[in-house]
């Protein structure tokens, strides 16, 4: 009986000597690691900020107008639109789209001036 009691005391001491198994609230826990999951992107990018997409589209429209109707100011506005679209673009966006819009606007400006080297006249 004494040995039994002694055994229990020893186990108890052992238990108390060990570090507390209760979770320390402020300690980082490697077991609780979760990987980063990007938020669902089917609606978020357009919802958050549609500026780059709108500017891209506007740029293309203006450059087509500048090329077809031979309007210099349209071509210049297209260049500005493609710059604004680039500045507001997300890193996940395709650079090819951006580059194609940019090239189209530059070509619109160049073609307008090749066809008609006169300087642009202000509308006023």
């Amino acid at each position: 009986m004494a040995t039994g009691f002694g055994l229990w005391v020893w186990i108890g001491a052992l238990g108390s000597a060990c570090p507390s198994r209760g979770r320390d609230l402020s300690a980082p826990d490697p077991r609780a690691c979760r990987r980063y999951k990007p938020p669902p992107s089917e609606c978020n990018p357009a919802l958050d900020d549609p500026t780059p997409d709108y500017m891209n589209l506007l740029g293309m429209i203006f450059s087509m107008c500048g090329l077809m109707l031979k309007l210099k100011w349209c071509a210049w506005v297209a260049v500005y639109c493609s710059f604004i679209s680039f500045a507001n673009s997300r890193s996940s966006e395709d650079t090819k789209q951006m580059m194609s819009s940019f090239m189209l606007s530059i070509s619109a400006v160049v073609m307008s001036y090749l066809q008609n080297p006169q300087p642009m006249t202000p509308p006023w």
Partner: protein
């Protein structure tokens, strides 16, 4: 004309006088002579120089006797004189036309006139005329500028130069703005790194690596948005920090901000484990932000239908308001430390939102309500404004460090806080109510969806039967389908009978 009349009179007299036979021939000759003489004299009436007249008289007949050459040499003179005489140009030209019937080429005459030297005497009448014209020219002359497109100078391209300058300015601003945002983000991370690393095992993860290792740097989403994912802590799944800076890289945005100052923001979203957070919805922040959130957020609009209340009861400044599902939650949340945080950093706090029913902003669907409730997560959301109201410096980022302490404290608080029995019952009732409302609204749509699903199943089965090549199998499948349909009909009929019996 008078002279012509005189000559004709003379002619008549001679005709009468010489009308008798023997003198008839002489008479006719004289008449002809007289006619031609009178005509030629009338033409050269204005000549002052008698020598010319004699000269022309001699040439008069030579004109008709000789061929082209003489006439060519002669006629230029006549052309000159006729051109000089403005008064009798028409008459003389007519006479000239009669004489020059044989002439075919008028151009050669004109060519010869150019080569012929002009006689000064013929221009006597013209001395006055240049004088009169010069007197007319003394009126002011307006010198018109050469049109711009015909000029050959850079100045005419001023609009193009303006455009290129604008583009250069935009590019300069892009570079400067991008660098500033990058420096601000780095300053924030440097000041918060220690705190984050002491609380989370995983600091910085972009989701691309195979293993969960800390990248230790921000994830750049945009030129003005930086993300940081922290994970590996008790009670929470993870924390996503988003640094939403102003679009300093876009010149248009910079100009718009001059009209309306806006602050940089830091948004923190802590995803809690299901067992570590009780069921409640609570928000505190500026009145304006809470009104906006109440409209936009699904859970706040459903569970916190009252207007934002003032937090003065708990010692909060007037700028802050509270939205809560029930009073017990507010009492539990507003302990001294939380009040201390909120009071001291009220200018930097935009909103604090704790919710177990968080599902993001309200989804506007075109086909009406969505068919099932959106997925909810237990979330703690914090939105802080960076001091400076747009004119931020990297050193201002250190001022946000106490707010991160508040976030950590809130995580622990949310874990510890538990509703009592009454509160729990109330919360459960609220959630059940919301769900029921949702189901009622979507009842019709769900029925339609179920119907369409059943039809799809039938169609798929029929197709399977049709595609079955073995006729035996086909027959058996058809029979099985028929039997199933009959069973369903029987069941329905039984139900109807039971309802009728109950009603009775």
């Amino acid at each position: 004309m008078y002279r012509m009349a005189v000559h004709f009179g003379v002619l008549f007299f001679f005709f009468k006088f010489f009308s008798q036979g023997a003198m008839k021939v002489l008479h006719t000759f004289c008449v002809v002579l007289l006619v031609f003489w009178s005509v030629s004299e009338a033409k050269f009436d204005d000549f002052e120089d008698e020598e010319d007249i004699v000269e022309y008289d001699d040439n008069d007949f030579a004109e008709f006797e000789d061929v082209m050459e003489d006439s060519v040499t002669e006629s230029p003179q006549r052309v000159i004189t006729t051109e000089d005489d403005e008064d009798e140009t028409t008459v003389e030209l007519e006479g000239q036309d009669e004489n020059q019937e044989d002439f075919e080429d008028v151009d050669t005459q004109e060519g010869d006139t150019e080569s012929e030297p002009y006689d000064d005497e013929e221009f006597e009448g013209y001395e006055d005329k240049p004088d009169t014209s010069s007197s007319k020219n003394k009126d002011p002359i307006t010198i018109v500028d050469v049109p711009a497109h015909l000029q050959n100078s850079w100045e005419s391209y001023y609009l193009e130069i303006l455009m290129v300058t604008g583009l250069l300015a935009y590019i300069m601003n892009y570079i400067i703005g991008k660098n500033k945002n990058s420096r601000l983000a780095q300053a924030w991370f440097n000041s918060h790194r220690e705190l984050l690393e002491s609380n989370f095992t995983l600091v910085g993860d972009d989701g691309t690596n195979k293993e969960a290792t800390s990248t230790g740097k921000l994830n750049q989403e945009n030129e003005h948005i930086y993300n940081l994912w922290c994970s590996g802590r008790v009670c929470c799944e993870g924390m996503l920090i988003q640094l939403r800076f102003l679009k300093r890289q876009d010149l248009l945005n910079v100009l718009a901000r001059m009209m309306r100052p806006v602050s940089d923001q830091v948004q923190i979203k802590v995803t809690m484990n299901d067992e570590d957070m009780d069921t409640y919805v609570f928000a505190v922040g500026t009145r304006k932000a809470l009104v906006r959130l109440q409209k936009e957020m699904q859970d706040l609009s459903e569970f916190c239908s009252d207007k934002p209340k003032s937090g003065a009861k708990y010692g909060l400044p007037d700028s802050l308001a509270i939205l809560s599902e029930m009073g017990e939650v507010t009492d539990g949340m507003m302990d001294t430390k939380m009040v201390h945080f909120l009071t001291h950093y009220a200018d930097k706090i935009e909103s604090v939102h704790f919710s177990d029913q968080f599902s993001g902003p309200k989804i506007m669907q075109e086909e009406g309500q969505p068919l099932k409730l959106p997925d909810t997560k237990r979330t703690l959301l914090f939105t802080f404004n960076v001091p400076g109201s747009g004119n931020t410096y990297p050193k201002d980022m250190e001022a946000l460090l106490p707010l991160m302490n508040m976030v950590i404290y809130s995580i622990d608080k949310a874990k510890k806080f538990r509703l009592n029995r009454e509160g729990k019952q109330k919360a459960d009732k609220n959630r059940a109510r919301v769900e029921e409302n949702f189901l009622k609204l979507t009842h019709v749509q769900r029925q339609e969806a179920a119907q369409s699903r059943r039809e799809e199943k039938k169609r798929a089965e029929k197709e399977r039967i049709m595609n079955e090549e073995d006729p035996e199998k086909q027959r058996r499948l058809e029979e099985a389908a028929l039997r199933r349909e009959q069973k369903k009909l029987e069941k329905k009929q039984m139900k109807m009978k039971q309802i009728k019996v109950k009603a009775m």
